[in-house]
């Protein structure tokens, strides 16, 4: 971080970014900002425009409209890429080279000494298989090599596009651990993922993209919404009537045999007392924890990821 730079200074900022392929709009008027030091989750269903956006940020494809800045530079400029490590979609390397030689090739491209290769191989726990040919690697090992290549420059911004895609549960767990390890400290991570649980655990802020447009951007809590209270009571209709009349309760709906109250969860004790005094038998009362998945499905109108 340079002197006078705020931690909230965006490392990645887009303004009206768009990409069209003929009559198809892949990304439309996208405005996102990734702040220094945060882990930013980029969520969206398949074909939402996540990879297209990341490719534009890396200078691999030219935007049709709008602009973007990565580390204060034009996307794809050597100055900007100096501080960026990226893994875009499936890892792509030379099949006839070993993992180590593939990294040596990449190290030469970015002007990093060969000694760094051994370090990053260790970071992704691939040192033991470094001399094997890339074509003999399992998918999990290929993904780890991709992360190793992204780490070569010890970048301040790491862009990972669905790094756990196609991995088995063990591979996913390993990759998640690696991401947590490499994403700590001052390093900023822009992570595109299908795994909502993973994003929920790892990311500080999330941007949801749907049909090429940013639907929402905020912290995970903000995305989940204010929450509410879930009540199990007898008789349920009476409980609904009483609760709906209470001050601060903005909604009372019966869903799956439970009463869902749209209110501040802090008011749980007060609501319980009111229901009991009205002769309602309350057997369960707890804050409604809306998962990121619920929020995501609501935002993307039920489309699966």
């Amino acid at each position: 971080m340079t002197e006078g730079e705020s931690p909230l200074t965006p490392l990645v900022e887009t303004s009206g970014l768009g990409k069209r392929y003929g009559s198809i709009t892949a990304v439309r008027d996208l405005n996102i900002s990734v702040r220094r030091g945060e882990v930013y989750g980029f969520l969206g269903p398949n074909g939402a425009g996540k990879t297209t956006t990341l490719r534009m940020l890396l200078g691999l494809i030219e935007p049709s409209s709008g602009a973007a800045e990565v580390l204060g530079q034009e996307p794809g400029s050597p100055q900007g890429l100096q501080g960026v490590g990226a893994l875009v979609e499936s890892p792509a390397f030379y099949p006839y080279l070993s993992g180590r030689d593939n990294l040596r090739v990449m190290a030469r491209y970015c002007g990093v000494p060969d000694e760094r290769v051994a370090e990053v191989l260790g970071q992704v726990e691939l040192a033991g298989r470094a001399t094997d040919k890339f074509k003999k690697y399992s998918l999990g090992m290929k993904q780890r090599l991709g992360v190793a290549a992204a780490l070569l420059k010890d970048p301040e911004l790491l862009i990972l596009d669905e790094p756990t895609n196609g991995l088995d549960p063990r591979g996913m767990a390993d990759m998640r651990a690696i991401i947590r390890r490499v994403g700590h400290g001052e390093r900023t991570v822009l992570l595109s993922s299908h795994l909502l649980g993973e994003v929920e655990q790892v990311c500080d802020r999330v941007g949801v993209i749907h049909r090429g447009e940013l639907v929402i951007e905020g912290t995970v809590d903000e995305l989940r919404g204010g929450g509410g209270i879930l009540v199990k009571a007898e008789p349920l209709e009476e409980a609904q009537r009483v609760a709906a009349g209470l001050a601060g309760v903005e909604g009372a709906e019966i869903e799956d045999g439970m009463l869902v109250l749209d209110t501040d969860p802090e008011r749980a004790a007060e609501i319980n007392a009111s229901l009991v005094s009205a002769g309602v038998r309350v057997s369960e009362l707890r804050p409604l924890a809306r998962s990121l998945e619920d929020a995501f499905l609501e935002l993307t109108r039920g489309e699966t990821v």
Binding site: I61, P91, A92, F93, Y96, C110, G111, A149, K153
Partner: protein
């Protein structure tokens, strides 16, 4: 660009197909230009003379055949290295160089490795120029190796024949090295251009080979006496590769002297240079402008 050059050289050096192509080229060149030619000359049968031919005439025929054999053998000696080897660069050279150029560029599209390379640090022009420079170095090394192998083969034949060893003039050798490299570079650049436009290795190699081996031959052998058409033919890369390569043949002490070339070697070299420049610039333009998807 130097960083890219280092990376490209490492890739080419470690790539099996580079070595396979180089081995095929060297083996076929030495086999056809030296081993086979020497085996035929060494085992040439005596001349068949009709029964009743006078002894003096039979002796004359035998001397003529011996002189011819000597002349052919001299063409294989190291002093005739340039005239014996350079014509081969316009025969097997074009398809080989085209394959090498198409492989170097097309494989990056096939393996989708450009996205990994271009997100490292170098700009697109640096990656592209590093690739071309590395390809040029490999081709130049191949040309040097070819002449070195030819020199060894010629030396062995000289030793077997007990003839004195002579070497070509240094200037002539340098000119031949340059001509060989230029011919190969032109065709490699065509391979790079095709692979860049088609974003494919197989298709670019296929189309390139059809052009270099079939179309060029058909066009050049069309029995059209029209002067304009004949002049236009002189601007084809295959034809100019032949002109440049064969420009060294007439200087042979032995062997067959080729007929007068319709185009000077310098003009042929300029045409090939122009083709190389156009291919490289077009490929660079397309590579720079196109999205990497």
């Amino acid at each position: 660009m130097l960083a890219s050059l280092g990376a490209e050289l490492l890739k080419l050096r470690k790539r099996p197909s580079t070595w396979v192509l180089a081995c095929i080229w060297l083996t076929v060149t030495i086999l056809l230009s030296y081993a086979l030619a020497y085996a035929l000359l060494a085992n040439a049968p005596p001349p068949t003379v009709p029964q009743g031919t006078p002894k003096a005439q039979r002796e004359q025929l035998r001397e003529q055949q011996e002189a011819f054999r000597e002349e052919q053998l001299e063409a294989l000696y190291p002093e005739n290295l340039v005239s014996n080897l350079t014509p081969g660069f316009s025969n097997l050279g074009p398809p080989l160089a085209l394959i090498l150029g198409a492989l170097a560029m097309g494989s990056e599209y096939g393996w989708a490795t450009f996205k990994t390379v271009l997100t490292q640090k170098p700009g697109r022009y640096a990656v592209f120029s590093g690739k071309l420079l590395a390809l040029g170095i490999v081709l130049a090394l191949l040309v040097v190796l070819t002449f070195a192998a030819g020199a060894v083969a010629g030396y062995v034949i000289t030793a077997l024949e007990g003839a004195p060893v002579g070497w070509p003039a240094a200037g002539e050798l340098v000119r031949a090295l340059g001509a060989g490299t230029l011919i190969l570079a032109t065709w490699a650049a065509l391979g790079v251009l095709l692979a860049t436009i088609l974003r494919s290795t197989a298709l670019s190699i296929g189309l390139g080979l059809v052009y270099s081996l079939v179309l060029e031959t058909i066009i050049l052998n069309l029995p059209i006496q029209n002067k304009v058409f004949q002049n236009v033919r002189e601007f084809f890369p295959g034809q100019n590769s032949n002109f440049l390569a064969n420009s060294f043949s007439g200087q042979s002490q032995g062997g067959f002297a080729t007929p007068q070339q319709p185009v000077e070697a310098s003009q042929a070299a300029l045409v090939l240079l122009a083709y190389t420049a156009v291919c490289v610039l077009l490929a660079a333009f397309v590579f720079h402008r196109r999205d990497v998807t």
